[in-house]
């Protein structure tokens, strides 16, 4: 009993202190806002925003509401984080494996890359890529075509515009292919377990994922109209490409900087994971006749992933939060659009900052939950 009380009292005191501090700040803010005639409320979210945004994934202009502007910023943040996470993972795995390469040049280049990029502040790197890109890239009228008819220019990367007929049929065909692959995989596993035969699952999958969409074109009435970018003159020296989809240089610079920076940390996680597996595992696998590829895929990686996933989750979270530096180079993410322009136009600092904080918290927690689920899935299952 006495012990129990001893345990509980500090907790209660902590709780009261925290609540008191929080209450004090709330009260203080309330009092000061009252004194200065500032009203608190979220009604402004319904008002017309009356500012435009450079780059948006959904239909938006100034006649929409602040709530919609919030959504635009949120989606842009998610977009850059998503692309950044994919690129940084790919680069990170390659570099992480390269750091353990027996080849002197590969090993040391990888070490140099890691040490160089992780030791320079990210904001500086973002500025570097952005202004280096702006200096190096040509004006639209001087740009040469890449891969047929895409153009990398100072105003953005212009790619052909695709206009789809029956896009839904196309998407269903891909979905169908994925389901078939799942079925075949299960079947192949059964065959392997029962008869010891290995089916070429990879090639079958590849064939299916190509064949289904082609069939949808032939029989499903799916059609793509490709509009290639053409130079259009705005003034004596000003040109753009139209019609085209334009990826702004701000997005490209941001993805580049975030991926290259975060990849260095992921590379270290990967290296640690692989080195954490004892040599005996590899030797044992080799002794039962597995090929080097099979050793990596079936023996090393499944075990290494358990070490790699938790710290890599941290890096994904960091990348997402670091994407808020976008404001410095005019990429319209959540911080620039909502905690920047919308905050300035409405003056609702407390409301907007609280929404923004909650949003980042939710994004981070979602990523954590997802990665924890994956981590649990690959963890050692004790029987």
């Amino acid at each position: 009993m006495n012990n129990k009380v001893k345990k509980i009292i500090p907790q209660i005191i902590t709780l009261i202190t925290v609540a008191g501090i929080f209450g004090f700040f709330t009260y203080n803010a309330q009092l000061n806002m009252d004194n200065r005639g500032i009203e608190f409320g979220y009604g402004f979210l319904k008002q017309e925003s009356s500012f435009d945004v450079q780059f948006s994934l959904i239909d938006y202009d100034g006649s929409h509401s602040y709530a919609r502007a919030y959504l635009v910023g949120l989606l842009n943040t998610l977009l850059v984080s998503f692309i950044g996470i994919i690129f940084s993972t790919i680069i990170g795995i390659i570099v992480g494996v390269a750091r353990l390469s027996p080849n002197y040049l590969i090993r040391n280049s990888a070490s140099f890359y890691v040490e160089f990029f992780r030791n320079i502040p990210l904001l500086l790197q973002i500025f570097f890529w952005y202004f280096a890109a702006l200096r190096a890239l040509p004006l639209p009228q001087d740009a040469e075509a890449w891969f047929g008819s895409t153009y990398m220019t100072i105003k953005g990367y212009y790619v052909p515009l695709f206009i789809w007929d029956n896009l839904d049929v196309f998407l269903y065909s891909i979905l169908g292919a994925i389901i078939c692959i799942g079925v075949i995989k299960t079947y192949a596993k059964k065959i392997q377990e029962n008869e010891g035969k290995q089916l070429p699952v990879f090639y079958i999958s590849l064939a299916l994922i190509i064949a289904f969409p082609i069939l949808s074109f032939v029989f499903g009435g799916v059609n793509i109209e490709v509009k290639t970018p053409e130079l259009k003159q705005l003034s004596a020296t000003g040109y753009i490409f139209e019609p085209a989809l334009s990826l702004p240089p701000e997005l490209i610079a941001l993805v580049l900087a975030l991926s290259l920076y975060t990849a260095t940390f992921i590379a270290e996680c990967v290296r640690a994971g692989i080195q954490g597996i004892s040599k005996g595992q590899k030797e044992a696998a080799a002794s039962i006749g597995l090929t080097p590829n099979q050793i990596l895929k079936l023996v090393i990686m499944p075990q290494a992933l358990r070490i790699i996933i938790p710290p890599t989750t941290n890096q994904y979270l960091n990348l997402t939060k670091n994407s808020s530096l976008a404001a410095a180079i005019a990429y319209p993410d959540l911080v620039l659009v909502f905690a920047g322009t919308a905050l300035m136009q409405t003056g609702r600092a407390i409301e907007i900052v609280s929404i923004t904080m909650l949003t980042y918290l939710s994004i981070s927690l979602s990523i954590s939950v997802l990665m924890n689920w994956y981590n649990k899935k690959i963890a050692i299952k004790e029987k």
Partner: protein, 345 residues
């Protein structure tokens, strides 16, 4: 006798109460003023570097017409125009810094609008520069008027400003589609435009003229003649301290009125013997103008002597460096401009 005593007592009590109230009123000082005098400096929010308005040189000395408003308040309240602590603020930070009490005057080329004045705990005290939004383009583009803008034009600007809203109104009313590229800091806007990211750079015309001096080659750029908005720029204070508000307002007004009466930093002392009572009031030789704010009578003389009149400030900060040699609307009403302030009396 007793009856009279009672009456006398109540009369005395009344007098005492009345007296107490008057001395209370006489001694009533602005809280912000009291804090400022206790600290020994005026806390002033300025821009992060806009030549002519608020700009720091290599050794950290701030100059500009916006800076001079804060210096005038320091001269009036503390007796020394140099007793100012400047806080550089981005467009995004400025109002929060003021309402949270980090600064006491915001003098940062800020446009006076209804929603800002009424909504977010701010009070605008006057206009120290009449401006309007314009566009800058490269000379080589051959564009000489906004009428030549075409669909797909990209425009660099700052976030969190009236500029962003005006730009939308302008392009929308003309049915032109455009790409807004909005940065948080002015330096990045200039760098991006200068490198060719945008076809045009839009902000207040004074800002365009000032930023042009920062470009790699200023002669390659021109400011288009059209003005697409009204941008009255002026100092801002927190709501709720009307005495402080008056001090800032009249510090600015004194500078403008001094120019109207030809009082300069060099002749202010000799003006004390002027025949014109309006001049004598401005240099503190007549009247009790300072008492209303809880200041001494030389407050306005110190402003004129230490900071100069509005014309001197304009010449020193904006005309002489070649930013906007023509005063345009920022000329006295007696000389064809629209600077017109209520009389200091």
């Amino acid at each position: 006798m007793f009856k009279y005593l009672k009456q006398l007592t109540s009369f005395l009590a009344m007098v005492a109460v009345l007296f107490a109230f008057t001395t209370e009123a006489m001694a009533k000082k602005s809280k912000t003023l009291k804090n400022t005098q206790k600290k020994g400096f005026v806390r002033c929010g300025v821009s992060q570097g806009l030549p002519g308005f608020s700009n720091a040189d290599a050794s950290g000395n701030w100059t500009g017409v916006d800076v001079d408003v804060c210096r005038a308040v320091a001269a009036a309240t503390l007796g020394d125009a140099n007793k100012v602590k400047f806080t550089p603020l981005s467009a995004k930070e400025r109002f929060t810094a003021l309402t949270s009490g980090e600064i006491d005057i915001l003098s940062r080329n800020t446009t006076w609008t209804l929603s800002r004045d009424a909504d977010i705990g701010l009070t605008f005290v006057g206009v120290n520069f009449y401006d309007g939004q314009g566009f800058m383009v490269r000379k080589s583009s051959g564009i000489t008027s906004v009428n030549q803008f075409k669909n797909g034009i990209s425009a660099c600007t700052n976030i969190g400003t009236t500029t962003e809203l005006n730009m939308r109104d302008f392009f929308n009313s003309r049915g032109i589609s455009y790409e807004p590229v909005a940065f948080e800091k002015a330096d990045e806007v200039v760098a991006a435009y200068d490198n060719g990211r945008c076809d045009t750079y839009t902000t207040d015309k004074s800002g365009l003229a000032a930023q042009r001096t920062k470009m790699k080659n200023p002669d390659e750029h021109i400011v288009l003649p059209e003005t697409i908005s009204k941008e009255p720029l002026g100092p801002v204070v927190r709501q709720g301290d009307s005495v402080w508000e008056d001090i800032v307002r009249w510090s600015l007004n004194v500078m403008i009125e001094a120019e109207e009466y030809g009082i300069t930093s060099s002749n202010a002392d000799s003006m004390k013997t002027s025949d014109n009572p309006a001049i004598k009031r401005l240099v503190g030789a007549e009247g009790e103008l300072g008492a209303a704010f809880g200041l001494d009578n030389d407050w306005s003389l110190r402003i004129i002597k230490q900071v100069g009149n509005y014309g001197e400030s304009y010449k020193r900060n904006i005309a002489d460096p070649g930013i906007l040699p023509d005063r345009g609307p920022n000329q006295l009403w007696t000389k064809g401009g629209i600077l017109y302030v209520p009389p200091a009396r």
